[in-house]
Symmetry: C2
Subunit: 342 residues, 2 copies
Amino acid sequence: MSPNDRHPLTLRDVSEAAGVSEMTVSRVLRNKRDVSEGTRARVLEAARRLGYVPNRIAGALASQRVNLVAVIIPSMSNMVFPEVLTGISQVLDETGLQPVVGLTGYRPEKEERVLYEMLSWRPAGVIIAGLEHSEASRAMLAASGIPVVEIMDVDGTPVDSVVGISHRRAGRKMAQAIIRAGYRRIGFMGTKMPLDHRARKRFEGFTEALAKAGVEVADQEFYSGGSALAKGREMTAGMLARTPDLDFLYYSNDMIGAGGLLYLLEQGADIPGSIGLAGFNGVDLLEGLPRKLATMDACRLEIGRKAAGIIANHAAHPEAPREPVHIALEPRLSLGDTLRTP
Amino acid sequence: MSPNDRHPLTLRDVSEAAGVSEMTVSRVLRNKRDVSEGTRARVLEAARRLGYVPNRIAGALASQRVNLVAVIIPSMSNMVFPEVLTGISQVLDETGLQPVVGLTGYRPEKEERVLYEMLSWRPAGVIIAGLEHSEASRAMLAASGIPVVEIMDVDGTPVDSVVGISHRRAGRKMAQAIIRAGYRRIGFMGTKMPLDHRARKRFEGFTEALAKAGVEVADQEFYSGGSALAKGREMTAGMLARTPDLDFLYYSNDMIGAGGLLYLLEQGADIPGSIGLAGFNGVDLLEGLPRKLATMDACRLEIGRKAAGIIANHAAHPEAPREPVHIALEPRLSLGDTLRTP
DNA sequence: TACCACGGGGGAACCGTTTCCCATCTGGAT
DNA sequence: ATCCAGATGGGAAACGGTTCCCCCGTGGTA
């Protein structure tokens, strides 16, 4: 308010304005006891009038406590991570903790840099996607001394806590449902991302369960970049031209699955009679499609909420002994209208 | 590495291990001059061996410089803000600056709290969605003394810099295109969000331009919650049942527009002959639809990149005089297959 | 009256860096 | 031999809070 642009306000400025010591101002602003109602009101009024905003950097240094939670994820460009973030925010909002997001672009070196950067702020906890990290990253996480929650995936050895689903199992479950429904000539479409370990694990679980039933993937194709919906369309057209006798198409995500579904509907395909389809993720976009695509829910919101809960819990009870928490959520299969019942 | 869990490592630990002073370690780690190659190597080696991660809190306090950029947006749940964030990250990644995201849920009080929280970390800049803020928020922004970029919208008075499009103009442009194409009985569907000022401005611009042509919106409906694609479907069905003679439907976002499009295609409607459609945003999802929905690109990625660029520029030249930058991007109309040419 | 507990508030040290300035050493010029 | 510049490195004082401990005054109690 007062055009005192000399230098950002400090506790001292407020204390002088209120006629008390800096200590008292600090106590008032942190809602500590040992201050009378009168002084408290005076201090609050002075702080408000001056437009004082405390300096958390100094506060954090002195108290050795930081209200930041590092969240490290590969990307924002598909719907999955934003939804995880929404879950994290929902829970953290109630606790005074603040998420800080870092993006790795699925690149381990980038992940390492981002992690280093984040840890240098001494956050209250780390939420990081995946279980696959560079040696150095794992070392940093382990040495940080703060709670770490690896999310999305449970197939592997976590550094500390973990919240996710088993993608291998998700792949298997889908394969089993497909086999049970009587499909045998199965095609697979997915992203061309060697570093997307979760997609890989789903595919592995999928082929493994097919093998158990004596079935092999009859055709497969991988894409990268571009609009997923359009890619699903193109790839489906291409694959069916190449391998016309397919009776099922498994897509590694709902978006390309939806593209394939729209394409097949236009072609007048008999779904799920002569050809079935399934995707993965359970995005709510599917609700509005002409037919509901079979899919498997990845529990994204819940993963975010649970992970944030673990960090929040540690932050609330700093002295409590640290037990790693391992939560494996169960992806729910939804048959939709594109996977016939046996 | 060494199981020295006593207490997080400090410069002192590294300096002792390397046999130099803390100052020298600090210089090495910040790539400053005045250190011989030999010492530099020894220090680096010691830091690596110990697994030292600098404490930026202390660093920031001492140097009065912070590499964080506050990004304050309403939500992550539609594709628009994640894409803006992607743009911001792309640019900030090159500069050593780190975005910190805060979510407001379109609520001014929440925005105020989040902003306060963010400013208390003394970030290098603030990127905040929209031009409408509470009195207190505007005061905080103005008093903060750091570069502020308001994004998405240019219809209003910015606190400092601004990057966005004119939503009013976007609405007008779309209305003009519709009128020019000869449509006259126009229905509107949008979100029921009194606090989504940008949607409101688009609608205002839209009706204003229609009025100029002597046309009024013949029917309108607002929704909230749920899957946008499904809502678009339902609302379209409902509206056409209620007002069967509509010859155009304008949707406030592409998702509900896509729902409406899918519905009408199923009904075998003659698009764009007897009924036209248009959405807003230019999401790349539209590429894969059976017909391409007419839409208007909101330049989301570019907004993020430009806004981040302004902050990065200020951070790189701290002493340069601060000129507010005003950038109005031009949304591109794309006729797709659902808006006939005149 | 002496004592003590307690409410209310202040002072000093410290958190781990960076900034600023000074000390030392070397080698070449004088 | 002396002087000085440049290279290299160290020391002390911030930075703006919080923690910990102490002080003062008051009022009830023995």
